[in-house]
Subunit: 257 residues, 2 copies
DNA sequence: CTGAGTAATTGACTTAACTCAAAGATTAGT
DNA sequence: ACTAATCTTTGAGTTAAGTCAATTACTCAG
């Protein structure tokens, strides 16, 4: 885990889209009950734990406060912890050999990430994770959760079905990316953000700044902007900052052929 | 499961790339020891099972023979089984609203697929599965494996780490698809097929016909063909049908910037 | 509230990738 | 071995999306 005093951060450059400049000032304090704990209790990975097991897990975890653009971990680092988001928002991304920054996922409060590390071998993070704004995460030792599962094998069921769900989601994400043109990819992405699916319209908030949504969808920010402007001028979406209102999802699907 | 006599197959049309025309002639016979069983025993999901548990699981499974282009299951069908490939090769694909066929994965002998269904809720296949050539699969009742896990919770460890590995793979697949140009996507895909990674060259066999690799990589078959021809003329790969020889993977990575 | 720095938009131009079409190569099945 | 079907390749023309550049709009910290 990178804490205060790390310096090689400066080496990192986002070739992606004129974005970001991580500065590290991690602060951790004991995790005291209150707010964030509530969401934790209802997460699939934890809600079936007996109260004393959950307590024990929390005892062994640390609450971590992350600043805007702060890096939490790096791709290929040994992974001893996984995380639960208490507040704020994070993104997962990878850097390839030429330093291009590829956003792969965004994480909202109430979500877990890197939880796949509980059973990964070797346990190394598959991507970078950074805070998109100031955030708080619970940093849970992989070992602690694993021991819990060893002692209480009945907990495995929850973990398995959580993992299964995650696999389906990734599979679906992959499907979007096989769509060959940028406009249709964006439309599919928006539809997937709608809470009620295709059935009815609604407001959607982009989980990432527009330039990172563009990166996520393998297009340039300019292209993203132009497509959105076009959809807007055709009355298909109404845009208000990062909030989009989609009145008729079916029509949107139709025009994507 | 679709067996003999199904007719609505004809409705299916591959808009993707002039491909396919499924004809259904499923034949099942009891699974008698021999060949394929060997590979099954060494698969992560089964190798830790006690012999009698494995036997019981096999007793409850059926060996299924699939013909060329035969459909095994359809997207959204209730999923009561998952599969192990004994011989042949299959592909997983989805059809979107406009009937476009998107190849998402190919499956080789010794692999499992739809195993995520063991813990999915609701249990519905997330894609279509069809044989790319005549193949044999073991059709394992989800319920049987689940019962085994309920009785022997210590088996869960293997399943969890298998699921974790799968999640990482899909994540990596997603990364490739965020690469913005077709040439670089293809190069990344080829590198990933190399058994020894970047370290040394080697021969690679495309797991799918070229037009489906193209679909998998979100490009047209013509584009695929042209890029490959270009790599060939630059001495970066040697092509022999579906076998590619890559002598210097590093150089390949370099030209992808 | 204000200003610096980042993000978003728009325009003009260029290029990569798609489309259509037709010829050649492979493969599956008889 | 032969035939029919399907894949693959190549060419020519078109279009979608990328690039570069400049302006405008946000955001956040002080």
């Amino acid at each position: 885990m990178y804490m205060q005093g790390e310096t090689h951060m400066a080496l990192m450059q986002s070739a992606d889209t004129r974005y970001r400049k991580p500065v590290l000032v991690a602060v951790n304090k004991p995790f005291d009950d209150e707010d964030g704990l509530q969401a934790l209790r209802s997460h699939p990975l934890f809600r079936n734990l007996r109260p004393r097991d959950l307590e024990s897990l929390i005892q062994q975890s640390r609450r971590l406060r992350l600043g805007h653009h702060q890096l939490l971990y790096r791709q290929d680092m040994p992974a001893h912890h996984f995380f639960f988001v208490i507040s704020g928002r994070l993104r997962l991304y990878r850097l390839d050999s030429s330093g291009i920054d590829r956003t792969l996922d965004s994480i909202a409060p109430g979500d877990c990430f890197a939880e796949v590390m509980i059973y990964a071998d070797p346990p190394r993070y598959a991507c970078y994770a950074e805070a998109l704004k100031s955030s708080e995460v619970l940093m849970i030792p992989v070992k602690a959760y694993r021991e819990l599962l060893d002692q209480h094998p009945e907990y495995a069921q929850a973990a398995l079905s959580h993992y299964a769900k995650r696999a389906v989601t990734r599979f679906h994400d992959l499907e979007i990316m096989t769509v060959q043109n940028a406009r249709d990819r964006l439309i599919r992405y928006l539809i997937d953000l709608l809470p009620n699916g295709t059935e009815q319209g609604g407001e959607v908030e982009l989980p990432l700044p527009k330039c990172l949504v563009a990166s996520r969808l393998a297009m340039q920010p300019e292209t993203f902007s132009r497509i959105l402007a076009d959809l807007k001028s055709n009355g298909l979406v109404r845009v208000n900052r990062s909030k989009l209102f989609i009145s008729d999802p079916r029509r949107l699907i139709e025009i994507s052929q």
